[in-house]
């Protein structure tokens, strides 16, 4: 593996196989925490941290414990345990260091545990037999993709608040349509056949 292939993995996960808009994982925070740009930036940072650390620790556990003892069937269970602990850790650190952000994220912070993107990336890693650095990059790329899309979406929704949306489309409906259009746009990256 050289530098170029790492770059390809990163771009591939951020844009071409974007976790939210192409793989359709992690839609709960994508819809839930995208009303305010400030909160979505915090959520993106927290999820990115959990995703990266989670995919690295999951790889270590998968490689050194589960595969050594042929216990691959424990993957989902043990990954959930690891991710839940990382989320708890993030929550404690955040409560101490950024109390305002902590209050703003509220219930969505512990709900990162049940964010399927956070479980999905370690499982995809395990299925494709990625190495440690590849897994970490895959996690980082997924996290960056999630962050970019969440922040973009939140900015669009903030502008939509002021837009003259027809009555039946107000609120969640127009948000769904916006998400679908963004998803269409990201599908366009599939044309980058190098990845």
């Amino acid at each position: 593996m050289d530098l170029k292939s790492y770059f390809i993995i990163l771009i591939g996960t951020v844009l071409v196989n974007n976790i939210v808009l192409v793989k359709i994982l992690g839609l709960c925070p994508f819809m839930g925490v995208s009303k305010k740009l400030e909160a979505s930036i915090g959520m993106a940072a927290a999820t990115a941290f959990v995703l990266t650390i989670g995919s690295m620790t999951s790889w270590i556990i998968d490689h050194y414990l589960l595969q050594t003892y042929q216990l691959e069937y424990l993957r989902t269970l043990s990954f959930i345990v690891v991710i839940a602990s990382v989320v708890q850790l993030t929550q404690m650190v955040m409560e101490k260091s950024f109390p305002i952000l902590y209050q703003m994220l509220g219930i969505f912070l512990p709900l990162i545990t049940s964010n399927c993107a956070v479980l999905g990336i370690p499982l995809l890693n395990a299925q494709t037999d990625n190495g440690f650095i590849e897994s970490a990059l895959f996690g980082l790329g997924g996290a960056a993709g999630f962050s970019i899309v969440l922040i973009l979406f939140a900015s669009i929704r903030e502008r939509l608040e002021a837009a003259d949306v027809p009555m039946p489309f107000k609120g969640s409906a127009i948000a769904m349509i916006t998400a679908a259009l963004m998803s269409l746009a990201f599908m366009g990256f599939a044309g980058l056949d190098k990845f």
């Binding site: 414990l65 216990l71 269970l77 345990v81 690891v82």
Partner: protein, 185 residues
């Protein structure tokens, strides 16, 4: 099979230890002074001090925005305790905020009650049960005697009764020996 159990157990132990360590390391402490002041206040939530409840008043005292003598239900003893805690001079209770009364509980005359729910909305401790157009009644063990429910009642069916002494709530009255005043010669 057993190895799977051991691995999950080991995983749980290691992660638990990490989280336990982090919980100590990243502990968030609330302001201990506010909690100690709040512990002295009588928790009637009556608002006679001018703040919406005991905790906001405690916060105001801790920030130096409020005086210690604004709590009539706490009485003279309360002011003394606050003065001791904060290391300030004792002041007599501020008359503007009301006077100390013996402990009371509210009582609803159930024949008169029209079920308007106004007193339920006024009660700061949720000690009134009832529903719209149904008779209300007071949970005496929860009532703090704050009198906030009396004013909103349109039919004046709420009265304040002093707490009757029963074997359950009777307290030993310690004999107090008055100190003889010094004789001025």
């Amino acid at each position: 099979m057993l190895i799977a159990l051991y691995i999950m157990l080991g995983l749980a132990l290691v992660l638990g230890a990490v989280l336990g360590y982090a919980a100590l390391k990243f502990k968030v402490e609330g302001d201990p002074l506010i909690a100690r002041i709040d512990a002295i206040l009588p928790q009637t939530q009556c608002g006679q001090c001018g703040y919406p409840g005991c905790k906001p008043y405690a916060t105001a005292i801790a920030n130096g925005e409020a005086d210690i003598n604004q709590c009539p239900p706490g009485g003279d003893e309360g002011v003394h305790a606050l003065a001791d805690l904060l290391g300030v001079e004792y002041k007599p209770l501020n008359e503007e905020h009301g006077e100390t009364k013996p402990k009371m509980v509210a009582f609803i005359e159930e024949d008169i009650c029209i079920g308007c729910t106004l007193c339920i909305q006024a009660c700061p401790v949720d000690a009134i049960v009832g529903a719209a157009k149904h008779m209300h009644t007071i949970v005496a063990s929860e009532c703090t005697g704050c009198e906030l429910c009396i004013a909103p009642c349109p039919v004046d069916c709420i009265t304040m009764n002093p707490i009757v002494e029963t074997p359950e709530n009777w307290k030993w009255k310690y004999p107090t020996i008055p100190i003889k005043p010094a004789i001025h010669l």
